[in-house]
Symmetry: C2
Subunit: 276 residues, 2 copies
Amino acid sequence: MKTISENACFGGVQGVYSHRSDSCDCDMTFGLFLPAEAKDGPVPVLWYLSGLTCTHENAMVKAAAQGWAAEQGIALIFPDTSPRGEGVADDDAYDLGQGAGFYVNATQKPWAPHFQMYDYVTKDLTDLVLKEFPIDGARQAITGHSMGGHGALTMAMKEAGRFTSVSAFAPICNPTGSDWGKKQLTAYLGSDEAAWASHDASLLMAERGFDGPVLIDVGTKDQFLDLLKPETLASAAAQRRQELTFRMQPGYDHSYFFVSTFIEDHITFHAEALYA
Amino acid sequence: MKTISENACFGGVQGVYSHRSDSCDCDMTFGLFLPAEAKDGPVPVLWYLSGLTCTHENAMVKAAAQGWAAEQGIALIFPDTSPRGEGVADDDAYDLGQGAGFYVNATQKPWAPHFQMYDYVTKDLTDLVLKEFPIDGARQAITGHSMGGHGALTMAMKEAGRFTSVSAFAPICNPTGSDWGKKQLTAYLGSDEAAWASHDASLLMAERGFDGPVLIDVGTKDQFLDLLKPETLASAAAQRRQELTFRMQPGYDHSYFFVSTFIEDHITFHAEALYA
Protein backbone atom coordinates (compact mmCIF):
# COMPACT_ATOMS: atom_id res chain seq x y z
CA MET A 1 0.00 0.00 0.00
CA LYS A 2 1.24 3.47 -0.90
CA THR A 3 0.27 6.75 0.78
CA ILE A 4 -0.65 9.35 -1.82
CA SER A 5 -1.68 12.13 0.56
CA GLU A 6 -2.72 12.75 4.14
CA ASN A 7 -4.41 15.99 5.25
CA ALA A 8 -5.46 16.99 8.74
CA CYS A 9 -9.24 17.27 8.74
CA PHE A 10 -11.68 17.81 11.63
CA GLY A 11 -9.14 16.58 14.16
CA GLY A 12 -8.51 13.41 12.16
CA VAL A 13 -6.80 12.55 8.91
CA GLN A 14 -8.17 12.44 5.35
CA GLY A 15 -5.85 10.07 3.51
CA VAL A 16 -5.59 8.81 -0.05
CA TYR A 17 -3.87 5.48 -0.65
CA SER A 18 -3.21 3.14 -3.53
CA HIS A 19 -2.73 -0.60 -3.46
CA ARG A 20 -2.67 -3.66 -5.66
CA SER A 21 -6.05 -5.34 -6.02
CA ASP A 22 -5.95 -9.04 -6.84
CA SER A 23 -9.62 -9.07 -7.85
CA CYS A 24 -9.25 -6.18 -10.28
CA ASP A 25 -5.71 -7.15 -11.24
CA CYS A 26 -4.54 -3.55 -11.19
CA ASP A 27 -3.62 -0.75 -8.80
CA MET A 28 -6.59 0.89 -7.10
CA THR A 29 -6.89 4.19 -5.23
CA PHE A 30 -9.16 4.94 -2.28
CA GLY A 31 -9.83 7.68 0.26
CA LEU A 32 -10.05 7.03 3.99
CA PHE A 33 -11.05 9.45 6.72
CA LEU A 34 -9.96 8.45 10.22
CA PRO A 35 -11.40 10.44 13.12
CA ALA A 36 -9.25 11.47 16.10
CA GLU A 37 -10.56 8.49 18.09
CA ALA A 38 -8.69 6.12 15.75
CA LYS A 39 -5.48 7.03 17.57
CA ASP A 40 -6.81 5.18 20.61
CA GLY A 41 -8.14 2.04 18.95
CA PRO A 42 -10.44 0.62 16.29
CA VAL A 43 -13.39 2.78 15.22
CA PRO A 44 -16.61 1.91 13.35
CA VAL A 45 -16.63 2.55 9.61
CA LEU A 46 -19.08 3.84 7.01
CA TRP A 47 -18.45 2.88 3.40
CA TYR A 48 -19.40 5.50 0.80
CA LEU A 49 -19.81 4.18 -2.75
CA SER A 50 -19.80 6.83 -5.47
CA GLY A 51 -21.76 7.22 -8.68
CA LEU A 52 -21.11 7.22 -12.41
CA THR A 53 -18.05 9.21 -13.58
CA CYS A 54 -16.81 9.57 -9.99
CA THR A 55 -13.49 8.48 -8.55
CA HIS A 56 -12.47 7.98 -4.91
CA GLU A 57 -12.21 11.77 -4.76
CA ASN A 58 -15.67 13.21 -5.46
CA ALA A 59 -17.44 12.42 -2.23
CA MET A 60 -14.27 12.92 -0.21
CA VAL A 61 -14.11 16.51 -1.48
CA LYS A 62 -17.76 17.43 -2.05
CA ALA A 63 -20.02 15.48 0.34
CA ALA A 64 -19.02 17.39 3.49
CA ALA A 65 -19.09 14.11 5.36
CA GLN A 66 -15.93 14.32 7.45
CA GLY A 67 -17.21 16.82 10.02
CA TRP A 68 -20.18 14.64 10.90
CA ALA A 69 -18.06 11.48 10.89
CA ALA A 70 -15.62 13.20 13.24
CA GLU A 71 -18.48 14.14 15.55
CA GLN A 72 -19.53 10.49 15.68
CA GLY A 73 -16.04 9.01 15.81
CA ILE A 74 -16.61 7.04 12.61
CA ALA A 75 -14.18 6.30 9.77
CA LEU A 76 -15.22 6.83 6.14
CA ILE A 77 -13.97 4.79 3.18
CA PHE A 78 -14.28 6.18 -0.34
CA PRO A 79 -13.49 3.46 -2.93
CA ASP A 80 -13.01 4.20 -6.60
CA THR A 81 -15.90 3.30 -8.95
CA SER A 82 -13.98 1.02 -11.33
CA PRO A 83 -10.58 -0.38 -12.18
CA ARG A 84 -8.39 2.03 -14.13
CA GLY A 85 -5.14 2.13 -16.05
CA GLU A 86 -3.71 1.49 -19.46
CA GLY A 87 -4.46 -2.20 -19.69
CA VAL A 88 -8.02 -1.78 -18.45
CA ALA A 89 -10.92 -1.90 -20.93
CA ASP A 90 -12.99 1.24 -21.38
CA ASP A 91 -15.86 2.65 -23.43
CA ASP A 92 -16.51 6.10 -24.85
CA ALA A 93 -19.84 6.33 -23.00
CA TYR A 94 -19.76 7.94 -19.55
CA ASP A 95 -21.89 5.13 -18.13
CA LEU A 96 -19.87 2.06 -19.12
CA GLY A 97 -16.33 1.00 -18.36
CA GLN A 98 -13.96 3.14 -16.33
CA GLY A 99 -15.89 5.23 -13.80
CA ALA A 100 -18.91 2.95 -14.20
CA GLY A 101 -18.10 -0.42 -12.64
CA PHE A 102 -21.63 -0.87 -11.25
CA TYR A 103 -20.21 -2.87 -8.31
CA VAL A 104 -20.53 -6.22 -10.07
CA ASN A 105 -18.06 -8.97 -11.01
CA ALA A 106 -17.97 -8.94 -14.80
CA THR A 107 -18.08 -12.29 -16.58
CA GLN A 108 -17.99 -10.99 -20.14
CA LYS A 109 -15.28 -9.78 -22.51
CA PRO A 110 -13.58 -7.33 -22.50
CA TRP A 111 -14.56 -6.48 -18.90
CA ALA A 112 -13.98 -9.69 -16.96
CA PRO A 113 -10.19 -9.41 -16.47
CA HIS A 114 -10.40 -6.23 -14.36
CA PHE A 115 -14.02 -5.26 -13.64
CA GLN A 116 -14.50 -7.17 -10.39
CA MET A 117 -15.79 -4.31 -8.30
CA TYR A 118 -18.09 -6.38 -6.09
CA ASP A 119 -15.19 -8.50 -4.90
CA TYR A 120 -12.90 -5.49 -4.81
CA VAL A 121 -15.06 -3.66 -2.28
CA THR A 122 -16.32 -6.61 -0.24
CA LYS A 123 -13.05 -8.57 -0.20
CA ASP A 124 -9.82 -6.88 -1.33
CA LEU A 125 -10.40 -3.41 0.07
CA THR A 126 -12.18 -4.70 3.16
CA ASP A 127 -9.27 -7.01 3.98
CA LEU A 128 -6.76 -4.24 3.35
CA VAL A 129 -8.35 -1.53 5.50
CA LEU A 130 -9.02 -3.93 8.37
CA LYS A 131 -5.40 -5.02 8.28
CA GLU A 132 -3.76 -1.62 7.78
CA PHE A 133 -5.95 0.77 9.77
CA PRO A 134 -7.62 0.87 13.22
CA ILE A 135 -11.07 -0.07 11.90
CA ASP A 136 -13.52 -2.33 13.72
CA GLY A 137 -14.68 -4.94 11.21
CA ALA A 138 -17.61 -5.84 13.45
CA ARG A 139 -19.05 -2.35 13.07
CA GLN A 140 -19.47 -1.56 9.37
CA ALA A 141 -22.24 0.41 7.67
CA ILE A 142 -22.65 1.37 4.02
CA THR A 143 -24.06 4.21 1.94
CA GLY A 144 -23.72 5.52 -1.59
CA HIS A 145 -24.95 7.91 -4.24
CA SER A 146 -26.70 6.96 -7.49
CA MET A 147 -24.77 3.98 -8.93
CA GLY A 148 -23.11 3.87 -5.50
CA GLY A 149 -26.51 3.74 -3.85
CA HIS A 150 -27.22 0.69 -5.96
CA GLY A 151 -23.90 -0.76 -4.84
CA ALA A 152 -24.58 -0.03 -1.18
CA LEU A 153 -28.06 -1.52 -1.21
CA THR A 154 -27.11 -4.64 -3.13
CA MET A 155 -23.99 -5.33 -1.05
CA ALA A 156 -25.87 -4.75 2.20
CA MET A 157 -28.53 -7.28 1.24
CA LYS A 158 -26.16 -9.83 -0.30
CA GLU A 159 -23.52 -9.69 2.45
CA ALA A 160 -26.04 -10.53 5.17
CA GLY A 161 -24.77 -9.79 8.67
CA ARG A 162 -21.88 -7.63 7.60
CA PHE A 163 -23.47 -4.17 7.74
CA THR A 164 -25.46 -2.80 10.66
CA SER A 165 -27.34 -0.33 8.46
CA VAL A 166 -27.60 0.81 4.86
CA SER A 167 -28.55 4.15 3.32
CA ALA A 168 -28.50 5.70 -0.12
CA PHE A 169 -28.77 9.05 -1.88
CA ALA A 170 -30.75 8.89 -5.12
CA PRO A 171 -29.87 5.22 -5.70
CA ILE A 172 -30.35 3.31 -8.93
CA CYS A 173 -33.11 1.12 -7.51
CA ASN A 174 -34.11 -1.17 -10.33
CA PRO A 175 -31.31 -1.54 -12.89
CA THR A 176 -32.89 -4.59 -14.54
CA GLY A 177 -35.75 -2.30 -15.57
CA SER A 178 -33.79 0.86 -16.44
CA ASP A 179 -31.45 2.22 -19.08
CA TRP A 180 -29.12 2.76 -16.14
CA GLY A 181 -28.66 -0.96 -15.74
CA LYS A 182 -29.79 -2.99 -18.73
CA LYS A 183 -26.92 -1.80 -20.87
CA GLN A 184 -24.30 -2.28 -18.17
CA LEU A 185 -25.61 -5.59 -16.84
CA THR A 186 -25.67 -6.91 -20.41
CA ALA A 187 -22.12 -5.75 -21.00
CA TYR A 188 -20.69 -7.00 -17.71
CA LEU A 189 -22.85 -10.08 -17.01
CA GLY A 190 -24.18 -11.12 -20.42
CA SER A 191 -27.63 -11.13 -21.91
CA ASP A 192 -29.10 -13.81 -19.63
CA GLU A 193 -31.23 -11.69 -17.32
CA ALA A 194 -31.19 -14.37 -14.64
CA ALA A 195 -27.66 -13.26 -13.82
CA TRP A 196 -28.82 -9.68 -13.27
CA ALA A 197 -31.35 -10.28 -10.51
CA SER A 198 -28.83 -10.47 -7.70
CA HIS A 199 -27.66 -6.94 -8.57
CA ASP A 200 -31.06 -5.27 -8.46
CA ALA A 201 -31.95 -3.63 -5.13
CA SER A 202 -35.69 -3.86 -5.72
CA LEU A 203 -35.55 -7.56 -6.56
CA LEU A 204 -33.24 -8.25 -3.63
CA MET A 205 -35.57 -6.31 -1.35
CA ALA A 206 -38.49 -8.43 -2.51
CA GLU A 207 -36.53 -11.65 -2.19
CA ARG A 208 -34.56 -11.21 1.03
CA GLY A 209 -34.63 -7.66 2.44
CA PHE A 210 -32.13 -6.27 4.92
CA ASP A 211 -31.79 -7.21 8.56
CA GLY A 212 -31.47 -3.67 9.92
CA PRO A 213 -32.57 -0.11 9.27
CA VAL A 214 -32.63 1.39 5.76
CA LEU A 215 -32.62 5.11 4.90
CA ILE A 216 -33.20 6.39 1.34
CA ASP A 217 -33.24 10.05 0.21
CA VAL A 218 -34.29 11.07 -3.31
CA GLY A 219 -34.86 14.60 -4.59
CA THR A 220 -38.21 15.36 -6.21
CA LYS A 221 -36.38 17.40 -8.85
CA ASP A 222 -33.77 14.73 -9.54
CA GLN A 223 -33.14 14.91 -13.28
CA PHE A 224 -32.66 11.13 -13.41
CA LEU A 225 -35.78 9.98 -11.53
CA ASP A 226 -36.98 7.93 -14.50
CA LEU A 227 -33.69 6.03 -14.53
CA LEU A 228 -33.46 5.60 -10.74
CA LYS A 229 -36.97 4.16 -10.26
CA PRO A 230 -37.23 4.78 -6.51
CA GLU A 231 -40.92 3.79 -6.63
CA THR A 232 -39.93 0.20 -7.35
CA LEU A 233 -37.76 -0.04 -4.26
CA ALA A 234 -40.25 1.80 -2.06
CA SER A 235 -42.96 -0.59 -3.17
CA ALA A 236 -40.84 -3.69 -2.61
CA ALA A 237 -39.77 -2.51 0.84
CA ALA A 238 -43.32 -1.68 1.89
CA GLN A 239 -44.60 -5.04 0.67
CA ARG A 240 -41.89 -6.76 2.64
CA ARG A 241 -42.56 -4.68 5.82
CA GLN A 242 -38.86 -3.75 5.74
CA GLU A 243 -37.65 -1.33 8.45
CA LEU A 244 -37.26 1.75 6.27
CA THR A 245 -37.19 5.52 6.07
CA PHE A 246 -37.82 6.57 2.48
CA ARG A 247 -37.84 10.31 1.84
CA MET A 248 -38.64 12.25 -1.31
CA GLN A 249 -36.97 15.62 -0.64
CA PRO A 250 -38.82 18.51 -2.27
CA GLY A 251 -36.84 20.57 -4.77
CA TYR A 252 -33.56 18.66 -4.58
CA ASP A 253 -31.75 17.31 -7.63
CA HIS A 254 -29.07 14.66 -8.22
CA SER A 255 -26.05 16.80 -7.33
CA TYR A 256 -23.65 16.83 -4.42
CA PHE A 257 -25.52 19.88 -3.13
CA PHE A 258 -28.28 17.37 -2.40
CA VAL A 259 -25.90 14.84 -0.88
CA SER A 260 -24.16 17.40 1.34
CA THR A 261 -27.51 18.71 2.57
CA PHE A 262 -28.55 15.33 3.97
CA ILE A 263 -25.22 13.70 4.81
CA GLU A 264 -25.59 14.70 8.47
CA ASP A 265 -28.85 12.73 8.68
CA HIS A 266 -27.26 9.68 7.07
CA ILE A 267 -24.20 9.67 9.33
CA THR A 268 -26.36 10.15 12.42
CA PHE A 269 -28.58 7.30 11.21
CA HIS A 270 -25.61 4.96 10.78
CA ALA A 271 -24.05 6.04 14.09
CA GLU A 272 -27.18 4.97 15.93
CA ALA A 273 -26.90 1.50 14.41
CA LEU A 274 -23.12 1.25 14.74
CA TYR A 275 -23.18 2.20 18.43
CA ALA A 276 -26.36 0.29 19.30
CA MET B 1 -27.32 38.59 -15.75
CA LYS B 2 -27.61 34.98 -16.86
CA THR B 3 -28.47 32.00 -14.66
CA ILE B 4 -26.02 29.16 -15.28
CA SER B 5 -27.35 26.75 -12.64
CA GLU B 6 -29.46 26.64 -9.52
CA ASN B 7 -29.44 23.67 -7.11
CA ALA B 8 -31.50 23.16 -3.99
CA CYS B 9 -29.10 23.12 -1.06
CA PHE B 10 -29.79 23.07 2.70
CA GLY B 11 -33.27 24.44 2.20
CA GLY B 12 -31.99 27.32 0.07
CA VAL B 13 -30.51 27.65 -3.40
CA GLN B 14 -26.91 27.40 -4.60
CA GLY B 15 -26.84 29.39 -7.82
CA VAL B 16 -24.20 30.19 -10.42
CA TYR B 17 -24.65 33.32 -12.53
CA SER B 18 -22.72 35.24 -15.15
CA HIS B 19 -22.87 38.93 -15.93
CA ARG B 20 -21.04 41.70 -17.74
CA SER B 21 -18.51 43.52 -15.56
CA ASP B 22 -17.74 47.09 -16.62
CA SER B 23 -14.63 47.22 -14.43
CA CYS B 24 -13.16 44.03 -15.88
CA ASP B 25 -14.62 44.67 -19.34
CA CYS B 26 -15.62 41.03 -19.75
CA ASP B 27 -18.19 38.50 -18.61
CA MET B 28 -17.70 37.24 -15.07
CA THR B 29 -19.12 34.23 -13.25
CA PHE B 30 -19.98 33.97 -9.56
CA GLY B 31 -21.67 31.60 -7.12
CA LEU B 32 -24.35 32.71 -4.69
CA PHE B 33 -25.95 30.70 -1.89
CA LEU B 34 -29.27 32.07 -0.65
CA PRO B 35 -30.71 30.54 2.53
CA ALA B 36 -34.42 29.76 2.87
CA GLU B 37 -34.94 33.03 4.77
CA ALA B 38 -34.20 34.99 1.58
CA LYS B 39 -37.70 34.12 0.36
CA ASP B 40 -39.07 36.40 3.08
CA GLY B 41 -36.78 39.39 2.66
CA PRO B 42 -33.16 40.59 2.58
CA VAL B 43 -30.59 38.49 4.43
CA PRO B 44 -27.05 39.30 5.63
CA VAL B 45 -24.21 38.22 3.38
CA LEU B 46 -20.73 36.76 3.77
CA TRP B 47 -18.30 37.23 0.89
CA TYR B 48 -15.85 34.38 0.31
CA LEU B 49 -12.78 35.28 -1.77
CA SER B 50 -10.85 32.33 -3.16
CA GLY B 51 -7.17 31.67 -3.63
CA LEU B 52 -4.70 31.17 -6.47
CA THR B 53 -5.87 28.89 -9.31
CA CYS B 54 -9.45 28.88 -7.97
CA THR B 55 -12.62 29.94 -9.76
CA HIS B 56 -16.03 30.83 -8.31
CA GLU B 57 -16.52 27.08 -7.93
CA ASN B 58 -13.85 25.77 -5.56
CA ALA B 59 -15.17 27.05 -2.25
CA MET B 60 -18.77 26.60 -3.36
CA VAL B 61 -18.09 22.89 -3.84
CA LYS B 62 -15.37 22.13 -1.28
CA ALA B 63 -15.65 24.48 1.71
CA ALA B 64 -18.83 22.91 3.17
CA ALA B 65 -20.03 26.41 4.00
CA GLN B 66 -23.67 26.27 2.92
CA GLY B 67 -24.97 24.18 5.81
CA TRP B 68 -23.63 26.62 8.38
CA ALA B 69 -24.79 29.63 6.37
CA ALA B 70 -28.26 28.06 6.18
CA GLU B 71 -28.24 27.57 9.93
CA GLN B 72 -27.46 31.27 10.40
CA GLY B 73 -29.71 32.55 7.60
CA ILE B 74 -26.78 34.14 5.80
CA ALA B 75 -26.11 34.39 2.04
CA LEU B 76 -22.69 33.48 0.62
CA ILE B 77 -21.10 35.05 -2.45
CA PHE B 78 -18.27 33.27 -4.25
CA PRO B 79 -16.64 35.61 -6.83
CA ASP B 80 -14.16 34.40 -9.41
CA THR B 81 -10.47 35.18 -8.79
CA SER B 82 -9.74 37.03 -12.03
CA PRO B 83 -11.18 38.13 -15.36
CA ARG B 84 -11.22 35.37 -17.96
CA GLY B 85 -11.80 34.85 -21.65
CA GLU B 86 -10.06 35.01 -24.98
CA GLY B 87 -9.23 38.69 -25.00
CA VAL B 88 -7.93 38.61 -21.43
CA ALA B 89 -4.16 38.58 -20.78
CA ASP B 90 -2.66 35.54 -19.09
CA ASP B 91 0.66 34.07 -18.01
CA ASP B 92 1.99 30.52 -17.97
CA ALA B 93 2.67 30.72 -14.23
CA TYR B 94 -0.12 29.53 -11.91
CA ASP B 95 0.31 32.60 -9.74
CA LEU B 96 -0.04 35.40 -12.28
CA GLY B 97 -2.84 36.34 -14.67
CA GLN B 98 -6.03 34.33 -14.94
CA GLY B 99 -6.84 32.67 -11.61
CA ALA B 100 -4.49 35.07 -9.83
CA GLY B 101 -6.03 38.56 -9.87
CA PHE B 102 -4.82 39.35 -6.34
CA TYR B 103 -7.86 41.61 -5.82
CA VAL B 104 -6.11 44.74 -7.11
CA ASN B 105 -6.81 47.20 -9.93
CA ALA B 106 -3.96 46.71 -12.39
CA THR B 107 -2.34 49.81 -13.83
CA GLN B 108 0.26 48.09 -16.00
CA LYS B 109 0.28 46.45 -19.41
CA PRO B 110 -0.95 43.93 -20.39
CA TRP B 111 -3.13 43.58 -17.28
CA ALA B 112 -4.81 46.98 -16.89
CA PRO B 113 -7.63 46.54 -19.46
CA HIS B 114 -9.28 43.64 -17.58
CA PHE B 115 -7.59 42.97 -14.23
CA GLN B 116 -9.66 45.31 -12.06
CA MET B 117 -10.62 42.79 -9.39
CA TYR B 118 -10.72 45.25 -6.49
CA ASP B 119 -13.37 47.32 -8.22
CA TYR B 120 -15.07 44.22 -9.57
CA VAL B 121 -15.73 42.84 -6.08
CA THR B 122 -16.33 46.09 -4.19
CA LYS B 123 -18.34 47.84 -6.93
CA ASP B 124 -19.64 45.83 -9.91
CA LEU B 125 -20.53 42.61 -8.16
CA THR B 126 -21.69 44.36 -4.99
CA ASP B 127 -24.05 46.57 -7.00
CA LEU B 128 -25.33 43.61 -8.98
CA VAL B 129 -26.11 41.29 -6.08
CA LEU B 130 -27.75 44.04 -4.04
CA LYS B 131 -29.93 44.89 -7.02
CA GLU B 132 -30.80 41.37 -8.18
CA PHE B 133 -31.06 39.38 -4.94
CA PRO B 134 -32.62 39.81 -1.48
CA ILE B 135 -29.38 40.76 0.21
CA ASP B 136 -29.07 43.37 2.96
CA GLY B 137 -26.25 45.72 1.96
CA ALA B 138 -26.06 47.05 5.51
CA ARG B 139 -25.05 43.62 6.80
CA GLN B 140 -21.98 42.42 4.90
CA ALA B 141 -19.02 40.43 6.19
CA ILE B 142 -16.01 39.06 4.34
CA THR B 143 -13.67 36.08 4.46
CA GLY B 144 -11.26 34.33 2.13
CA HIS B 145 -8.56 31.72 1.69
CA SER B 146 -4.90 32.35 0.88
CA MET B 147 -4.85 35.02 -1.88
CA GLY B 148 -8.53 35.47 -1.02
CA GLY B 149 -7.65 35.99 2.64
CA HIS B 150 -5.38 38.79 1.47
CA GLY B 151 -8.30 40.16 -0.56
CA ALA B 152 -10.72 39.93 2.36
CA LEU B 153 -8.37 41.61 4.84
CA THR B 154 -7.34 44.42 2.51
CA MET B 155 -10.88 45.16 1.35
CA ALA B 156 -12.21 45.10 4.90
CA MET B 157 -9.63 47.64 6.04
CA LYS B 158 -9.82 49.85 2.94
CA GLU B 159 -13.63 49.89 2.66
CA ALA B 160 -14.06 51.20 6.19
CA GLY B 161 -17.59 50.82 7.52
CA ARG B 162 -18.75 48.37 4.90
CA PHE B 163 -18.03 45.04 6.61
CA THR B 164 -19.06 44.16 10.15
CA SER B 165 -16.32 41.56 10.50
CA VAL B 166 -13.45 39.99 8.58
CA SER B 167 -11.84 36.58 8.75
CA ALA B 168 -9.33 34.61 6.74
CA PHE B 169 -8.01 31.11 6.25
CA ALA B 170 -4.24 30.98 5.69
CA PRO B 171 -4.14 34.49 4.22
CA ILE B 172 -1.26 36.02 2.32
CA CYS B 173 -0.47 38.52 5.06
CA ASN B 174 2.46 40.51 3.78
CA PRO B 175 2.67 40.40 -0.03
CA THR B 176 5.13 43.30 -0.23
CA GLY B 177 7.60 41.07 1.62
CA SER B 178 6.85 37.73 -0.05
CA ASP B 179 7.32 35.93 -3.33
CA TRP B 180 3.52 35.60 -3.22
CA GLY B 181 3.14 39.31 -3.77
CA LYS B 182 6.28 41.02 -5.03
CA LYS B 183 6.03 39.43 -8.45
CA GLN B 184 2.29 40.07 -8.82
CA LEU B 185 2.28 43.60 -7.38
CA THR B 186 5.15 44.47 -9.74
CA ALA B 187 3.27 43.05 -12.70
CA TYR B 188 -0.10 44.61 -11.87
CA LEU B 189 0.91 47.87 -10.16
CA GLY B 190 4.45 48.55 -11.40
CA SER B 191 7.81 48.58 -9.70
CA ASP B 192 7.17 51.60 -7.48
CA GLU B 193 6.62 49.90 -4.13
CA ALA B 194 4.69 52.89 -2.80
CA ALA B 195 1.73 51.69 -4.85
CA TRP B 196 1.86 48.27 -3.17
CA ALA B 197 1.36 49.36 0.43
CA SER B 198 -2.40 49.74 0.23
CA HIS B 199 -2.67 46.06 -0.77
CA ASP B 200 -0.68 44.62 2.13
CA ALA B 201 -2.76 43.45 5.09
CA SER B 202 0.09 43.82 7.56
CA LEU B 203 0.86 47.38 6.46
CA LEU B 204 -2.83 48.29 6.45
CA MET B 205 -3.19 46.79 9.92
CA ALA B 206 -0.31 48.91 11.19
CA GLU B 207 -1.63 52.03 9.48
CA ARG B 208 -5.39 51.88 10.05
CA GLY B 209 -6.64 48.52 11.42
CA PHE B 210 -10.21 47.28 11.22
CA ASP B 211 -13.17 48.65 13.15
CA GLY B 212 -14.62 45.28 14.19
CA PRO B 213 -13.60 41.74 15.05
CA VAL B 214 -10.96 39.83 13.07
CA LEU B 215 -10.52 36.04 12.98
CA ILE B 216 -7.49 34.37 11.35
CA ASP B 217 -6.80 30.62 11.12
CA VAL B 218 -3.50 29.24 9.82
CA GLY B 219 -2.34 25.62 9.89
CA THR B 220 0.99 24.86 11.54
CA LYS B 221 1.75 22.41 8.72
CA ASP B 222 0.75 24.83 5.95
CA GLN B 223 3.21 24.14 3.15
CA PHE B 224 3.22 27.85 2.23
CA LEU B 225 3.85 29.39 5.66
CA ASP B 226 7.00 31.15 4.47
CA LEU B 227 5.03 32.84 1.71
CA LEU B 228 1.99 33.72 3.85
CA LYS B 229 3.96 35.41 6.67
CA PRO B 230 1.21 35.26 9.30
CA GLU B 231 3.69 36.44 11.92
CA THR B 232 3.84 39.85 10.28
CA LEU B 233 0.09 40.34 10.53
CA ALA B 234 -0.11 38.94 14.05
CA SER B 235 2.60 41.33 15.15
CA ALA B 236 0.99 44.34 13.49
CA ALA B 237 -2.41 43.53 14.98
CA ALA B 238 -0.98 43.03 18.46
CA GLN B 239 0.97 46.28 18.27
CA ARG B 240 -2.19 48.08 17.22
CA ARG B 241 -4.32 46.44 19.98
CA GLN B 242 -6.68 45.29 17.19
CA GLU B 243 -9.67 43.16 18.28
CA LEU B 244 -8.41 39.81 16.99
CA THR B 245 -8.52 36.05 17.28
CA PHE B 246 -5.42 34.61 15.63
CA ARG B 247 -5.13 30.83 15.70
CA MET B 248 -2.31 28.56 14.58
CA GLN B 249 -4.08 25.22 14.12
CA PRO B 250 -1.81 22.26 14.88
CA GLY B 251 -1.29 19.80 12.03
CA TYR B 252 -3.41 21.52 9.40
CA ASP B 253 -2.15 22.38 5.93
CA HIS B 254 -3.26 24.78 3.17
CA SER B 255 -6.00 22.60 1.69
CA TYR B 256 -9.77 22.78 1.68
CA PHE B 257 -9.73 20.02 4.29
CA PHE B 258 -8.38 22.75 6.56
CA VAL B 259 -10.94 25.32 5.39
CA SER B 260 -13.91 22.96 5.75
CA THR B 261 -12.78 21.98 9.26
CA PHE B 262 -12.99 25.56 10.53
CA ILE B 263 -15.67 27.10 8.30
CA GLU B 264 -18.30 26.58 11.01
CA ASP B 265 -16.27 28.74 13.41
CA HIS B 266 -15.89 31.47 10.80
CA ILE B 267 -19.56 31.58 9.86
CA THR B 268 -20.57 31.61 13.53
CA PHE B 269 -18.07 34.41 14.12
CA HIS B 270 -19.51 36.50 11.30
CA ALA B 271 -23.11 35.74 12.30
CA GLU B 272 -22.46 37.21 15.74
CA ALA B 273 -21.28 40.45 14.15
CA LEU B 274 -23.94 40.52 11.42
CA TYR B 275 -26.78 40.02 13.89
CA ALA B 276 -25.30 42.20 16.66
